[in-house]
Symmetry: C2
Subunit: 195 residues, 2 copies
Amino acid sequence: MPPGRPRAFDPDVALDAAMLLFWRHGYEGTSLAALTAAMNINTPSLYAAFGTKDQLFQKVLERYLQNPASYLPNALKEPTARKAVQKLFDGAVHMVAHARHPDGCLLVQGALAAGPAAAAVRQQLADTRRRAQLALQRRLERAVTERDLPPHAHPQKLARFLITILWGMSVQAAGGASRRELDEIAAMALESLPN
Amino acid sequence: MPPGRPRAFDPDVALDAAMLLFWRHGYEGTSLAALTAAMNINTPSLYAAFGTKDQLFQKVLERYLQNPASYLPNALKEPTARKAVQKLFDGAVHMVAHARHPDGCLLVQGALAAGPAAAAVRQQLADTRRRAQLALQRRLERAVTERDLPPHAHPQKLARFLITILWGMSVQAAGGASRRELDEIAAMALESLPN
DNA sequence: CCAATTCTGTAACGATCCCTAAAATATCGT
DNA sequence: ACGATATTTTAGGGATCGTTACAGAATTGG
């Protein structure tokens, strides 16, 4: 154990509490007072451990991608494009339906539109969304070269379309869509895959 | 002309300026200081003419639905379901592509996730989104009774799916999607209509 | 010209925003 | 036990938040 007074909190537990707040109320809608209350730490402890609000959000985002949003890279490992997309949407619905999770996706709810103070966070989320789309595109391109998808399939347009539906489902979830409704949307999205 | 000192500004012009700000930066991301600066009026004038920030947003929302978002009810007046949906997505893309308009749809960008202070606005936008979806659903139901859509078509699921794509396009626009990309998404959405 | 009315401009209110300085506390190695 | 180190607690700073009081300015009808 390093010298000095030991931490009275688990950084990962505190980070999870912060993630839930940012996820539910967005970056701008989450105050530091609300964060410290949910994380059960005082403001200086937060700053010592995680830095400013921006930097805390960055750490939350990294954790989000690794922990609840890992369904995306995992789904792309499926052997066929159809199974990959199926698992992708199943994973998304499963994540949102998780009782303890807020509605929607942090990449969308975090900061879709924001004021000047949150412009950096907003841009970072947009970049992350684009990376997700690109990952799906690469997987579909691979499927074409593997004769898994027909040669006339258009991976870029297809990935863009499917990811658009995914973000749209996040908006629907924010509006209170039920799991059954999200499942039916996902099923219809699957039908846009060429045979 | 009523007695008293006349207004030095046009309420509709001021409302348009407020709409652009709310649209671009969201409800929480738009401060009253930014509003008064863009509207070229002082704070007491704003409160006298439009009430509190919530009430101003409500008036902006009404104006948004009448002025740039009227493409939705207009599209539903088309004689066939296919033409209606086509005009719906064309109108959406056209609105977003308008140079002076922010990216996306105010119903999505306005307050998708928000803090406690903006909970009412958030709920109001969710309700408005749901009404839009219901309007499309009613139009598709009419198309089924008119033998315009096949009897096995499912208006509720179909409307939900198409509107999900529409909200997803708003997220894509917020991420910097080009008009061409949005057009291609719209074209793929049209293919989900049954023959 | 005057009273009544309504808007405008200046100023400021309390609350909350994000962030930090300083002192007290708890562990380390010696 | 003691200095060194790192965290906690308490307290508050400067800025901005949404909102409003108040006095001056511009119009009305008489």
